[in-house]
């Protein structure tokens, strides 16, 4: 869907809060992602690790790691979609504002 220009939109408290939660959720995806990848370097520099004399890299381990990393965008997207759906419902059920409705519709589908 194409997104119509919205002029003079002043986000109300509910929308601002939702955007705050969406931003936080994006940070959470980074947190989980970091825990799966960046820590590799931490472990190298951790001093109290006994030296590993034999390294066995199984395909199962690689598959698990790869699948977990692939899952993160889906999980993040789902969390954000829920937030957007909730805002769409909010403006359909109670307080109606055309500009806010258009804004959250644009957020849901993107603008293509």
């Amino acid at each position: 869907m194409s997104c119509p220009p919205i002029s003079g939109l002043k986000l109300d408290t509910e929308s601002k809060d939702a955007i705050g939660r969406i931003t936080k959720n994006q940070n959470l995806a980074k947190l989980l992602s970091a825990s799966l990848t960046v820590g590799v370097f931490n472990s190298i520099f951790t001093k109290n690790k006994a030296p590993v004399t034999a390294l066995n890299i199984t395909q199962t381990d690689w598959d698990l790691y790869s699948k977990a990393m692939s899952a993160l965008p889906n999980i993040q997207k789902r969390v954000i979609q829920k937030e957007i759906d909730m805002m769409i419902i909010h403006y359909q059920m109670g307080k109606y504002d055309h500009k806010h409705v258009q804004f959250w519709k644009g957020m849901k589908y993107g603008c293509k």
Partner: protein, 183 residues
């Protein structure tokens, strides 16, 4: 730096354990370290399963017809626009939850296990609880949607559920198809 160390899956799993730890290089005994590694692996697996399930549920939403309510029936049931929107709203979230339930609860379980062992394993509990609240638990808004839905007459709820079923569906397309959307 030994490059092969970077490739070790043991270090990859331990990395997850270490980021969950309260600080870099925090002291955890060898036995607890092994438990943390084991639990971290379970979280990895649960994360992968949850992501795959979300994709599966999204495909159902994309490929299914949206529910269509009969206007005459709604009139008979004295269902206002707000009643129907409340029902669609709640059932959107509920049906999606039903679709992803096992995998989402599985991830919640292991995140909860990590939280419960935080003292023993020296886990950074703030990171665990942040993940839990975002991924695992319903929000207050979702719970309020459920409360609003439960206040509807049983006859209405029976009708909506007979039309909607258990499968996840698209909120906006459903609102549009049933002329419920306010533009």
């Amino acid at each position: 730096m030994d490059v092969s160390k970077l490739l070790s899956p043991r270090y990859i799993i331990l990395s997850l354990a270490i980021v969950f730890s309260a600080s870099c290089g925090a002291a955890v005994d060898a036995g607890s370290e092994e438990v943390l590694e084991h639990l971290s692996r379970k979280i990895l697996k649960a994360t992968a399963s949850y992501g795959e399930r979300i994709e599966y549920c999204d495909k159902i939403v994309a490929s299914s017809d949206v529910p269509k309510f009969d206007k005459e029936q709604l009139t008979k049931l004295k269902a206002s626009r707000e009643d129907v929107v409340a029902a669609v709203a709640y059932l959107t979230f509920n049906n999606y939850f039903l679709c992803e339930r096992n995998e989402r609860l599985g991830l919640a379980f292991y995140l909860g296990a990590m939280e419960s062992l935080k003292s023993t394993l020296n886990v950074d509990s703030s990171s665990v609880s942040e993940l839990q609240s975002a991924v695992s638990y319903p929000s207050i808004r979702e719970l309020n949607l459920e409360l609003d839905y439960l206040k509807l007459p049983q006859s209405q709820r029976d009708y909506y559920e007979s039309i909607v079923g258990d499968a996840p569906f698209d909120l906006m397309r459903t609102l549009k198809k049933n002329s419920l959307i306010r533009e």
